[in-house]
């Protein structure tokens, strides 16, 4: 028996705490793991039941004679038996199937070798294994999707433009809110948030018409403008609080010691605000990079990468493992950007005190 009830209470609290943390971690890690794993599965694996947790690295084949030609079978780890997948005499068909469905590229001459083995060896069935090309989904994704690479560059361009527009306008407004007292300041500061009070898709159609009138429909700048509307609200609030955190006397000191207003901003205010600006840039990037709904409606021939990923799920070519590969490609730049910008954001919390 536990003699100390306080210790027991502490134990329970800690247990609940860790249960909570683990649940949280799992709920974040599991979907990511699923996406990564799926992106390495072959088409056959990704449509099998139950879905494998991890992609296989090689595939065990068996080859035997049939009436129409040859029977190709694949070893199923779950059922622990060979399952016939193809019954054909066409070696090309066999090669294509092995590559596209199983993810194991195998050339026709090599298949001929195996057949020769079957014919000459005197055996009923021959067994062989082929290494899987794990990156096949990725190369296939870029091969079958319409202009995936230009779309990737376009998305980068849009995200960059959005950061540029919303950070320059947002931080100027944020600075004004932080430093100057003027009539209607608080009302204005709150009204900036109005644009975030309804889903963007609700006005997407009107946006499309306005952009068309401006000549910006289906152009990166058009989408960047639409995204900026939403993210300016965010950057205004983030940067306003950042600028409020910088003592005015630091700027005044710069002015007394010979700096113009512009030099003061460049040499004192901006470097000090950098962590906050970086955070604002990160949110803006993530928002612009992953946004899909408006992008579907506001582009036609020049889609963003997120739209390309979405479209890869549709139609005849739509394989979920290919989409997963595309989705991971979509996630990587935002991860890189976040890691790159992380060190600036950390300054805000620990590295530097103002």
């Amino acid at each position: 028996m536990n003699k100390n009830p306080i210790k027991l209470g502490k134990l329970v609290r800690r247990t609940i705490f860790y249960l909570f943390i683990v649940t949280l971690a799992v709920s974040i890690i599991l979907p990511v793991f699923f996406l990564v794993s799926l992106s390495f599965l072959s088409t056959r694996e990704s449509y099998s039941f139950p879905l494998p947790l991890l992609p296989s690295l090689k595939t065990e084949y068996s080859l035997t004679h049939s009436d129409r030609g040859y029977l190709l079978s694949v070893y199923d780890k779950f059922d622990k038996e060979y399952q016939t997948v193809l019954d054909t005499a066409e070696l090309e068909k066999m090669s294509v199937y092995m590559k596209n469905q199983i993810g194991t590229p195998y050339s026709i001459p090599k298949i001929e070798e195996r057949i020769a083995e079957l014919e000459n060896g005197g055996k009923d069935t021959i067994f062989f294994s082929v290494r899987k090309n794990l990156l096949l989904n990725y190369t296939t994704f870029f091969q079958i999707t319409r202009d995936a690479v230009p779309a990737l560059l376009r998305s980068l361009q849009i995200a960059g433009l959005t950061i540029l527009i919303s950070l320059s306008i947002g931080s100027m407004a944020g600075y004004a809110f932080a430093r100057y007292v003027f009539a209607g300041r608080d009302v204005l500061k709150f009204s900036v948030l109005f644009v975030r009070m309804f889903p963007g898709v609700a006005i997407a159609l009107h946006m499309a018409i306005i952009l068309a009138n401006m000549g910006f429909y289906d152009k990166p700048i058009g989408l960047a403008l639409v995204y900026s509307v939403g993210s300016i609200a965010l950057t205004v609030w983030i940067t306003a609080s950042v600028f409020m955190g910088i003592p005015e006397s630091l700027e005044e000191a710069a002015q007394v010691f010979g700096a113009t207003k512009w030099q003061t901003f460049l040499r004192v205010t901006f470097p000090l605000a950098l962590p906050g600006l970086a955070a604002a840039a990160m949110y803006t990037f993530l928002g612009a990079w992953t946004e899909t709904v408006s992008a579907i409606l506001l582009t036609q021939f020049n889609p963003t990468f997120s739209v390309v990923v979405y479209q890869s799920l549709l139609g005849a070519v739509g394989n979920v493992n290919l989409t997963a590969a595309g989705g991971l490609v979509l996630a990587i730049p935002s991860l890189i950007f976040t890691f790159f910008i992380r060190k600036y954001i950390q300054q805000m919390w620990g590295g530097m005190t103002i």
């Binding site: 003592p247 006397s249 630091l250 005044e252 000191a253 710069a254 002015q255 007394v256 010691f257 010979g258 700096a259 113009t260 030099q263 040499r267 004192v268 470097p271 000090l272 530097m352 005190t353 103002i354």
Partner: protein, 363 residues
């Protein structure tokens, strides 16, 4: 080094908040001038107008013969030490000091020489590569000082630079700031609300209240010849004791009388009241000018309320009606509460104030 002249300077915030009212001041070359007053008296605003950080509503400011009223801060050639030091946290100590010199586009070697020289004066030469967050408050203060000296300013402005330091450091920094001032030979305007700081550092003190100058003078002047009840009360710890008294002219001379006191003024002091036509005055006397004596010589007797030993002396508080009079007495023997004490005043130190205008009568 230069002189500073402020002529009829007024600062109005918004529509009707008068922060500084018709402020006139001349600061002499190499002078250490202290603006002293309670918080909200406009002393910091006055200094910020000199720096160019606040616009002047009306009036002119000159540095030497150069009018700077409309100039931006960078063109005034002043330097400033801020209350919160305002050292830039993202720059090393070296860069903090070199900032202004780099903006002046000085040669690299010259910058290096001046940074090291001023860092030496402020005793931070071993901290040059550090960032401000790695420094103590006192060290940050020294960085602010070095940064201010490095630019070789015409006028040195200090806005309550010692108020964020702990009590002991404050006193030692006082001495150092004064020494640096003497060494650099700079004209300095120093803002503070701490009267002992002002007394110990200033060549001249400007006492301000509600945006107006109340009195200008040397520490000696404002202490011993306070021009008003406000100044007499504000300067000195403990402050001047005040008593309402009636003037009674009798055959043997002029008496100051209230329920506890009947003081025959010496002829020298009585003369000061000659031109005065009311029959009441406020009598002001500093605690150290009240002397404990034997019962027979006393001008005033009362019982001790409490005594605060201070080591070198004790402060004896005496209740007179609802008025507490404080007396600085020798440290021994300690006077127990309830004991009767007998007092006389050093007559030549008495200050007479008009109860209506609160201004001093004897000057």
């Amino acid at each position: 080094m230069a002189t500073l002249t402020m002529q009829n300077v007024t600062k109005i915030f918004g529509r009707d908040v008068i922060a500084v009212k018709d402020f006139n001041l001349e600061v002499k070359e190499k002078e250490f001038l202290v603006l002293l007053g309670p918080s909200g008296c406009g002393k910091t605003t006055a200094m910020r107008m000199v720096a160019g950080l606040e616009e002047v509503t009306t009036g002119e400011i000159f540095i030497d013969d150069r009018e700077v009223t409309e100039l931006p801060p960078r063109k005034r050639n002043v330097s400033m030490i801020f209350q919160n030091y305002a050292v830039w946290p993202h720059m090393t100590v070296y860069d903090n000091i070199a900032f202004a010199l780099k903006l002046k586009k000085l040669h690299k070697d010259e910058i290096d020489r001046r940074v090291k020289e001023t860092a030496g004066m402020a005793k931070i030469e071993m901290l040059l590569e550090r960032y401000p967050s790695q420094l103590s408050g006192g060290q940050q203060q020294r960085v602010a000082v070095a940064r201010a000296i490095a630019v070789n300013p015409d006028i040195f402005l200090m806005d309550e630079p010692l108020s964020n330091l702990d009590a002991k450091l404050r006193v030692s920094m006082r001495t150092e700031l004064k020494a640096i001032h003497d060494k650099a030979g700079s004209t300095t305007v120093f803002v503070t609300h701490d009267q002992s700081e002002a007394m110990s550092m200033a060549d001249r003190i400007v006492i301000m209240k509600d945006g107006e100058v109340i009195q200008v003078g040397s520490p000696d002047d404002v202490y011993h010849r306070s021009g008003s009840i406000f100044v007499a009360d504000f300067i000195g710890t403990p402050p001047t004791n005040f008593m309402d008294v009636k003037i009674q002219k009798e055959s043997n001379g002029t008496h100051l009388v209230n329920t506890h006191l009947n003081l025959l003024l010496e002829p020298e002091m009585a003369k000061h009241l000659n031109g005065y036509d009311k029959n009441h005055i406020v009598l002001g006397i500093r605690p150290e000018n009240i002397v404990l004596v034997g019962e027979s010589d006393a001008a005033l007797s009362a019982s001790c309320l409490v005594s605060e030993p201070q080591g070198s002396h004790q402060v004896v508080a005496i209740q007179l009606d609802d008025n507490i009079v404080k007396v600085v007495a020798p440290p021994n023997p300690i006077i127990a509460p309830g004991t009767d004490v007998h007092l006389i005043f050093k007559q030549e130190t008495l200050r007479f104030f008009d109860p209506d205008t609160t201004l001093a009568i004897n000057d």
